[in-house]
Symmetry: C2
């Protein structure tokens, strides 16, 4: 047959009742996906798969759909990486249920770089969002690829933070087919990720956003990465499942500590209690990487960092009211101001200062630190 | 001689140039403090102490002052515990530089109970203060004695929290003589501690609050305890020294995690990174205690806990404005309310709600959780 070898992988992925681990067993036994399709029924049945499934492979089930699937994937701008291909990410290949193939939009080579997964709540706190963004940027600045799931919340912050770094790379692993982006508001983000990394999936074109696919997807997020950093996660949370998968895959688990009075910090604090490494700066992650990986990481492009902050600050200031500007100007980024000193230092009645502070907090320009201290956000 | 044997201990403690470790060596060699004072000069000199110090002991230096010191201690309502006395705390006796004697106001027996030290910043955040108070109360409710230094901030919260538990016991270790309480605003607190535990010091009556005495004092705080819990501490902080001492003394080190954006959480987060156990509830402490200690701990007096909260709530409500009452009534203790739901649920204009929320926060009735969620304080 003169078919693209990838069609045999696509075919096997579509045989009903053939799980990933059984498929790997077939391929190991016969040497390739194509060889499995040309094996005799007796040989197929000897591989420990159900008779019905052996018959289906023998009857070439999946191969017809594979042709149209390949066309659809190319239509959607995807490359396909088979498990035995040169560009298939080596770390991912190590996990026991590695995907048979990956749909990739973007740079396939980036999937083999040194990477950290960042996961967390879809409804993070301001603290979690801000720290996710900053850590992702700091790590991407050092050439660590940031892997996440492009969901709302922490995932989005992590991708955006990585993209903010000069030359920062990030990979989004979708829990559905590559023909649609979910959530929809992240379409532009997906394009940016594909330009500066990759958007990938193991699911066929047209697969909808089924909730049961998210945990399946999560094993790829951790599988591509040297470690998983959990930013915020409530008591029963998908992020804790990802951390569990990472442990099973022998990956490092990192977690951001947080106030025990915040429900979103329950998950990370719990993980730290159970042995995850506490992270309060990018260095805490990098120092756990193998020495040869650490040597490949580049020094930070500190210039990019500074210019970004400057730009942001000037954007903020254009839209402020007079009260907001007065209070904001009084606050500093490097030292918290106690409420009484703001009352004393800004020529506005205290009640208006209180309201202004809350407005500035609500619009994300100012953060309240414990003890009635206020600080400009980074 | 017919003197009280304690005077020989008081005397040795006053011999200039005789450090605590050398004093222990003398006492070990001669069998008692009294025997050291009746030894020959040759014998004294053979103990490896400087000739000048040996001569001073031989000349009975310190014994005269010891008499008046004993009178002053009794005048100040103190008992004295010598290192070889029956009531001297066994855990404290184990440390290499154990005090020769302790001045005790209160119940000497409590010093030998199962205890946890709680230490932290003199300028804690609202988060740190509140959690210190709650953890101290929860642990004291289980019959763990809370040891601290009666300083402003976390120390005071820890003592107060312990006193709030029914039958709760707490011990304050002073860094100065027992004739004065420092800080002065804690005089009433000191009386309550002495009635429900003990106030202790190793320093002679009349010793002022010298800063260099605080680290010396801290070894007693950790020495009396099975472990040390660090609540909040900035980068260069006495609490981190106490944690270091605790490690040297083979005590457990516990720490409260906190947001990495809060300077006060730097210390505890750093300790957790270095191996301290993360604590987010009383159980995390108790489960590290030896099994025989855990068995002695009593089940909680849960009734006391509930009645305390009820009392507090009714006190709060008496002093509220109409706006405050409306917003407070809408909030719950068990589930945070998002700002938009408060706008929707309370019949007051949003600007007034914002101001009222900040007032309630400032007066300690309401806590803002990350992500613009508000909750009643416990």
């Amino acid at each position: 047959m003169s078919q693209d070898p990838i069609t045999y992988w696509l075919g096997l992925a579509r045989v009903e009742g053939l799980g990933i681990r059984s498929a790997h067993r077939l391929i190991e036994h016969f040497g390739s996906a194509q060889a499995a399709y040309t094996a005799s029924l007796t040989e197929l049945e000897s591989c420990g798969i159900p008779a019905r499934v052996a018959q289906a492979v023998f009857a070439q089930e999946g191969l017809n759909e594979a042709e149209s699937e390949l066309a659809a994937a190319r239509q959607a701008g995807c490359q396909l990486l088979a498990y035995d291909g040169e560009d298939y990410p080596p770390l991912l290949r190590q996990i026991p249920d590695a995907p048979l193939l990956l749909y990739v939009r973007g740079d396939v080579k980036i999937l083999s770089h040194c990477a950290l997964a960042m996961v967390g709540s879809r409804k993070p706190s301001a603290y979690g969002s801000q720290v996710a963004h900053r850590l992702a940027r700091d790590l991407a600045d050092r050439r660590v690829v940031i892997i996440s799931g492009m969901a709302r919340g922490i995932d989005t912050c992590a991708h955006r933070g990585a993209l903010e770094a000069k030359g920062g790379k990030t990979v989004a692993v979708q829990g559905r087919g590559m023909d649609e982006i979910y959530p929809r508001e992240n379409r532009k983000l997906a394009d940016k990720i594909a330009e500066n990394g990759a958007v990938i999936s193991e699911f066929p074109i047209g697969t909808g956003p089924l909730p049961e696919n998210f945990p399946i997807r999560n094993r790829i997020i951790s599988g591509l990465s040297l470690g998983v950093l959990v930013i915020e996660a409530a008591e029963y949370s998908g992020s804790l499942i990802t951390a569990r998968l990472a442990l099973d895959q022998n990956r490092e688990v990192f977690a951001l500590p947080g106030n025990i009075t915040s429900a979103q910090s329950f998950g990370p604090n719990h993980l730290i209690k159970r042995g995850a490494k506490l992270v309060d700066q990018w260095m805490d992650v990098v120092e756990e990487f193998p020495a040869e990986v650490r040597r490949q990481l580049m020094p930070p492009e500190s210039a990019s960092e500074i210019s970004q902050v400057d730009q942001a600050a000037s954007l903020f200031e254009q839209s402020m009211s007079a009260d907001q500007k007065a209070v904001f100007d009084f606050l500093r980024v490097d030292e918290p101001a106690f409420i009484d000193s703001i009352f004393g230092g800004v020529a506005i009645p205290p009640a208006r200062i209180l309201q202004t502070l809350l407005e500035l907090e609500m619009s994300g320009l100012v953060r309240q630190l414990p003890g009635k201290n206020f600080i400009r956000k980074l």
